[in-house]
Symmetry: C2
Subunit: 331 residues, 2 copies
């Protein structure tokens, strides 16, 4: 009933095909070294027996296991799943398997995960790492490592530059006649938050807009909703939020107060993770997480193949996506 689970090794195949074990091995890894006839015979026998090469043994022998690790701070943050998915698909194209780690925003946990993975992977990707530069460098010294949204010199990294999109956002608000806006900030330790805050500041200054900063600390729906009180006391007529979740909370807080969007107040998010699913649909800054995931993975694969070690810094720019929280806009 249970089917034969007798260990199938290269040996049984060799016997069945009437060749040496090494030929079986070659048939799988370097068929061009064998006569077509031999290859055919081996493959046929293997197929019939249901043989499949033991990945572990192969890894021990060659030193390459065909695995990579991807660690993110929070899978449940909608920013990451598309990134993970893209990385996954790219890995698939190169026959790599990916270990996924969730650090839970905790540097210690992230360190632990790296340790656990490092023995079984050829390289790793750290997305929005919470590790210190030192730890990152230390790990990078062990294995090829690429960073996403973390700018550490000397370590290959892919960065999503939200600055460009945010500048467009400010210009958009200026065009609509807003003269006083507020930036609802995210985590102070976030590289992206810093970028965004600076971009708002600078372009507002250049365009002659007044700008206030309201902290939301943790980027979430609730934080956004609670920030509305502070936002309204500034007297601003529009807000740019650290991310879409925060913006969504702001929308809810505004609705609670019967403040109409966009006619009475304009709102702009960041990362475009909600699509058009808010009401009104959210004007936001585009998200490049898919490209980032894909780029990071292919960069890693490239690094793995050609041991090139030049300093790589891959930047993806963003742009404004105008929907209905800043202007009545057809869809």
């Amino acid at each position: 009933m249970r089917g034969q689970k007798e260990k199938l090794t290269i040996k049984q195949v060799a016997e069945a095909a009437g060749v040496a074990r090494s030929s079986v091995s070659r048939a799988f890894t370097r068929p061009e070294m064998l006569s077509p006839e031999t290859v055919r015979r081996v493959l046929h026998a293997a197929e019939k027996l249901g043989y499949v090469p033991n990945q572990t043994a192969r890894a021990l022998s060659t030193g390459r296991h065909g695995n990579v690790a991807l660690i993110v701070p929070d899978i449940a943050n909608p920013f990451f799943p598309p990134l993970i998915r893209a990385a996954q698909m790219e890995a698939d194209r190169s026959d790599f398997c990916v270990f996924l780690g969730n650090s839970d925003e905790d540097p210690k946990q992230e360190d632990k995960l790296v340790g656990r993975f490092v023995g079984q992977v050829e390289g790793l990707i750290l997305a929005s790492s919470r590790l210190s530069d030192e730890r990152i460098r230390a790990h990078a010294a062990q294995r090829p490592l690429v960073l996403i949204n973390r700018d550490v010199e000397g370590i290959p990294r892919v960065l999503i530059d939200s600055g460009s999109g945010v500048r467009e956002a400010v210009a958009h608000l200026a065009e609509l006649g807003h003269q006083h806006i507020v930036y609802v900030a995210g985590p102070v330790t976030s590289w992206s938050n810093k970028q965004r805050r600076l971009a708002v500041r600078k372009s507002a200054e250049r365009l002659g807009l007044k700008v206030d900063i309201v902290p939301a600390i943790v980027p979430s729906y609730d934080a956004g909703r609670e920030a509305v009180t502070a936002i309204m006391t500034t007297g601003a007529t529009a807000a740019i939020a650290f991310d879409d979740l925060t913006a969504q909370g702001i929308l809810a807080g505004l609705a609670d107060r019967k403040i109409n969007v966009p006619s009475q107040f304009g709102v702009i998010g960041c990362d475009d993770v909600l699509g058009a699913a808010t009401y009104p649909s959210l004007t936001t800054v585009s998200n490049r997480s898919v490209e980032a995931g894909k780029a990071a993975l292919s960069l890693l694969v490239e690094l793995l193949q050609s041991q090139s070690a030049r300093d790589i810094r891959y930047v993806l720019d963003t742009h404004l996506v105008v929907r209905n929280t800043t202007i009545v806009h057809k869809e």
Copy 2:
């Protein structure tokens, strides 16, 4: 500059500690077999050299790699990330690493992923598998396998029973005076959809409500929004949607038509993946994906340890979460 990366094996540690290689091995895996003194010496030497056991070699020798695989149809569907996260954390507790696979709703891809993973894992978890029963059984014959939201007899499975919550939803609507409701259906191949549809049907019947079915086919915001036309022509006064995304779309469609929720029309979602982030906040059926992920993983670990093979069917029930799309309700 680059630090010494000379391969550190058990051998160097053995020499440094002045013991046999097997003692080094034991110090790491079965310290209780050694004198405390020896253990200390070995560990000290290992620490000093920066030695860390080679997982691959260990796996080849023991047959256990300490890895499991988790395959989901779509990481980007908000239902899965919390499940993945929970599984991850549970795996961590048992020192397992998890390979994550995204089948992209494609059985072929799912099969391919299983094949790629199976050589490096001790067991796998298939969440909402799109594979045929046969394929699932075939894979289960190779390796311990547990299913989530898929009911195949003989294969250990954990099921989220949305029936209980849906029955509460129907009762809730009946209490509010609704006499004619509609169920906005999801994918026909979905086990969960079937459950939900039946539960709506049966309890509506029992309570004397009229019920119509409107298909949304693919569960998404857009599908929900488009379904509103069909929903309104039925003359119903409330809708239960296959999932929260669909419900959210319905909310938007209703808003487009200036139909007030909940005073003119009631809406209930399923899975509670949006939290209170819709406006009005969505009444929905609770989600047990976190427990499901956790249970599946610990079940798998248990299976791995004690080769018990009894038929396990773990069911998680759900309940209604009342928010503001059915009744004006304080938060």
